[in-house]
């Protein structure tokens, strides 16, 4: 572990946004926005440099304070973390640009929400910290940084619905964190270490480990709005300001998923059974169907998009049953591990791009119409063709039609499902796609329909529409470097591994 090359980048990835967020506090409204935007761009560029560093040097670490684990904390930037950080950077940059223009356009009436900027930079620092963290407790702290800043962003509009949804979100987030932390306490009590790498070696199966796994998983499921803990997500995401909704659903929920993936694959292999994988997969499957159906039934654009997040996150959970091998199957013979991992990573990235674009488009529509009831989308194509195009492209990626990133995810997921012989997940994937097609095309149908009465479309800055479109296109463009991306990910340790479960307890399997 410690013979890996060290790099200062991980420290900067967390420190820089915090520094800029703090500095921005010294400025008044407009200055905050300027510093905030500059800070976002700087952080984004820094993250891309860091990603480049990892492609060049492989996994890098940063031993904070010079104290090696288990006493100290280690930041570890492996290819998986680098990809998540890079995704955050790209999506973050465009959302920042959008936010800058969006808030400036409303400055006169709302004051321009200057607090957005420090909170968003804190959130970004939290996300980077989470992706880099290699320490169970530090993950808790980053989760809290993310949780508080995310809720604060969500209630920024000050509207009643946003506040109520925000409080519910916050209480749920705290509950999730505390459940997670209880698991951490038990793990620490039984091993005396918090470092993920060390834990992977020393953790023994047993009642305590299983219980810790249970509460940690529950806590993280709550945070990532996995079924049946999805109830808080639609109101919170739909009532926030547009750039915030985009951040919340594109990035924030992915943080909890990332930890869940990491912990299951790197730490808790010993306690995982085939049934555990099936169970979490079932939760995902229900989320896919339920979320899509709910989205289909909504009548306001942001609620559709928010419910769709529940479904899309369900797909993420569906990779777990594929990663946990049935008793007797070895990781070497399981040829579906790489497709399943690819499906997971691509689902995360494609959803981030597409969903961000969707919410940004919704923001544009709200700006133009003053509300987001879908029947007012009639003749959207005639009024705002770029936004309509962005919705269409992002929607196509959500459905998983080729050649989008969503297609890549669904293809790999379905491939993994067939290769592993767990065919019972296949109808879920397809039904989910069809339902998604249902609500996406419901929107498009309206967009093409003639206007019944003259809707007053107020003019909207073109740059906003372009931001949404670029993100939508991004959900397609990410397919092009897929081969390189997967090779890069495979150079890391965790990508492509599976858990070999044995009937009693299990044994830790890495190939």
């Amino acid at each position: 572990m410690t013979d890996l090359p060290t790099s200062p980048f991980p420290a900067f990835l967390v420190g820089l946004p915090v520094l800029l967020a703090t500095l921005s506090l010294f400025f008044r409204a407009r200055g905050k926005a300027v510093v905030g935007l500059a800070g976002s761009l700087l952080t984004g560029v820094m993250a891309l440099f860091a990603l480049f560093e990892v492609t060049r040097r492989g996994t890098v670490i940063h031993i904070l304070g010079g104290w090696e684990p288990p006493l100290g904390i280690l930041l570890r930037m492996d290819p998986l973390a680098a990809v998540f950080i890079g995704m955050t950077a790209v999506v973050g940059i465009f959302i920042s640009l959008y936010a800058w223009r969006y808030f400036r356009a409303q400055e006169a009436t709302t004051g321009g929400f200057p607090l957005f900027w420090p909170l968003w930079l804190f959130l970004w620092a939290g996300l980077n910290g989470l992706f880099l963290s290699n320490d169970l407790f530090n993950l808790f702290v980053t989760l809290e940084v993310i949780g508080i800043s995310a809720v604060a962003l969500a209630v920024l509009s000050g509207k009643k619905t946003a506040l109520v949804a925000g409080l519910r979100y916050l209480l749920v987030a705290i509950t999730g964190s505390m459940a997670y932390l209880f698991g951490v306490a038990l793990i620490y009590g039984s091993t005396g270490t918090l470092d993920l790498g060390l834990l992977g070696q020393v953790l023994e199966p047993g009642t305590t480990t299983t219980f810790a796994l249970l509460v940690i998983t529950l806590g993280l499921m709550i945070k990532m709005a996995g079924f049946p803990f999805h109830f808080w997500l639609p109101p919170a995401h739909s009532s926030a300001l547009a750039p915030v909704s985009a951040l919340l659903s594109a990035l924030v929920v992915k943080g909890a998923f990332y930890i869940l993936l990491r912990l299951w694959m790197e730490v808790f292999g010993v306690s995982l059974t085939y049934a555990a994988g099936q169970l979490i997969g079932l939760a995902g499957a229900i989320a896919v169907i339920w979320g899509s159906w709910q989205a289909f039934m909504q009548t306001s654009l942001k609620l559709i998009v928010a419910h769709s997040s529940v479904a899309q996150l369900g797909y993420l959970l569906m990779i777990f049953p594929l990663l946990i091998l049935a008793p007797g199957v070895t990781a070497d013979s399981a040829d579906w591990l790489s497709p399943a991992w690819t499906a997971g990573v691509y689902q995360v990235i494609a959803h981030a791009f597409a969903k961000a674009s969707f919410f940004l488009s919704a923001g544009i529509i709200i700006m133009a119409l003053g509300h987001d009831r879908i029947e007012s989308l009639r003749d959207l194509v005639g009024h705002m063709r770029i936004t309509a195009l962005a919705i269409a492209i992002a929607g196509v990626s959500l459905i998983g039609l080729p050649p989008s990133g969503g297609f890549m995810a669904k293809w790999m997921l379905l491939k993994g499902i067939f290769l592993s012989g767990q065919w019972w997940w296949a109808p879920v994937v397809l039904t989910g796609s069809l339902l998604t097609a249902g609500y996406v095309f419901m929107l498009l149908r309206l967009a093409f329909a003639p206007a019944r009465e003259k809707e007053a479309f107020r003019p909207v800055p073109r740059s906003l529409e372009v931001c949404a479109l670029v993100l939508a296109l991004g959900s397609f463009l990410i397919v092009l470097p897929a081969d390189n991306l997967i090779q890069f990910l495979q150079s890391g340790e965790v990508f492509g591994t599976g858990i070999e479960s044995i009937m009693e307890g299990g044994a830790h399997g890495n190939d």
């Binding site: 420290a11 904070l64 304070g65 288990p70 910290g129 407790f137 530090n138 980053t142 604060a152 047993g206």
Partner: protein, 328 residues
């Protein structure tokens, strides 16, 4: 004997926790919660965690309790001083609860009971991991401080602590984000109320000195930045209640500086180490003690200011959105 004390304390804590959730009146809940915090603090002492006990008593029980009490001015139906018809308020609460109580709580209760059994089993069977005592002990001489908890907080795991200072600042920003904070000049009550003036005049130096003491001796014994910060924050809260809200009366740049100096200094110092080829928060050994003391002092100032501001802002929350002005 000791088992008996611990057992009673444990039962007390559980009782208080349950009661604070079940008490029919809100004010009772809050006071029971206060008591619960103190019971926990006693438990920390029994477990030899004096630092935690101080933190718990000061922040979780004290500061938060004050916030809750202040909040009750809003949710006042059960607050005795203002309450007109306690019976009615009580009835409303009970009425609201009984119907759903029976329906929803039976499965919830069963589920929680089962969960509790598993949890107890898991906790009981926790194998001995050995902890990190030995490691901490081995590296303590190199940490620059003598008190192991301070060493962990500000050296071994300084990163967590730094983020945590950030969390407090964020908590303040988050409260701004909620909105509805009205900045208005409170009447200077201290001038009118000699009693209050005396209290402030007596407690300000005491709290300050005790805080400084905790801060300084955090190096060698229990105490440190957080505990000191709460005491200093208490000064701010007292002054605010007395009508002299220092955090709002100083110039804006100074206020922001005070609020951020802890996290900023910590971070910039860390970056300097990185620039010098070390890791973030990797102090040069010779100066570790001094630097930690400076960091702690500045952090304590920032945290105290943040706590004061959190209280002041919550205290000043008012409905009228038009007069909302972010003091930030």
């Amino acid at each position: 004997m000791s088992v008996l004390i611990d057992g009673l304390l444990a039962i007390l804590a559980i009782y208080l926790a349950l009661q604070s959730l079940l008490a029919p009146r809100l004010i009772k809940s809050v006071f029971l919660f206060f008591a619960f915090g103190l019971a926990l603090a006693l438990a920390w002492v029994r477990l030899g965690a004096v630092d935690v006990a101080i933190t718990e008593a000061a922040i979780a029980s004290g500061f938060l309790g004050v916030l809750f009490l202040d909040a009750l001015r809003d949710f006042s139906p059960a607050f005795p001083a203002k309450q007109k018809n306690p019976e009615a308020a009580h009835n409303v609460l009970v009425k609201n609860n009984t119907k759903s109580l029976l329906l929803s709580r039976i499965p919830l209760g069963l589920g929680l009971g089962l969960f509790l059994l598993i949890a107890l089993e898991a906790v009981w069977k926790t194998p001995e991991g050995g902890g990190l005592t030995a490691a901490a002990e081995a590296f303590l001489p190199e940490s620059g401080v003598e008190h192991p908890v301070t060493a962990v907080l500000l050296n071994f795991r300084a990163y967590d602590t730094w983020l945590e200072i950030g969390v407090i600042l964020m908590g303040l920003l988050a409260i701004f984000a909620v909105g509805g904070i009205k900045v208005y000049r409170k009447p200077n009550m201290a001038a009118q109320d000699p009693m209050l003036r005396q209290v402030i005049m007596f407690f300000t130096p005491v709290l300050f000195l005790f805080g400084a003491f905790l801060l300084y001796f955090g190096k060698t014994g229990p105490g440190g930045a957080f505990q000191a910060a709460v005491l200093w924050g208490a000064i701010g809260i007292l002054l605010h209640l007395g009508g002299k809200s220092i955090i709002e009366e100083i110039p804006r740049w100074l206020r922001q500086l005070i609020l951020t100096v802890g996290i900023l200094f910590f971070l910039v110092l860390g970056f300097l180490f990185v620039a010098g080829g070390n890791a973030l928060f990797e102090y040069p050994r010779a100066y570790a003690g001094l630097l930690i003391l400076i960091i702690e002092t500045l952090a304590a100032i920032s945290i105290a200011a943040a706590l004061t501001a959190i209280f002041a802002n919550l205290n000043q929350m008012k409905e009228d959105p038009n007069e909302t002005e972010s003091i930030n």
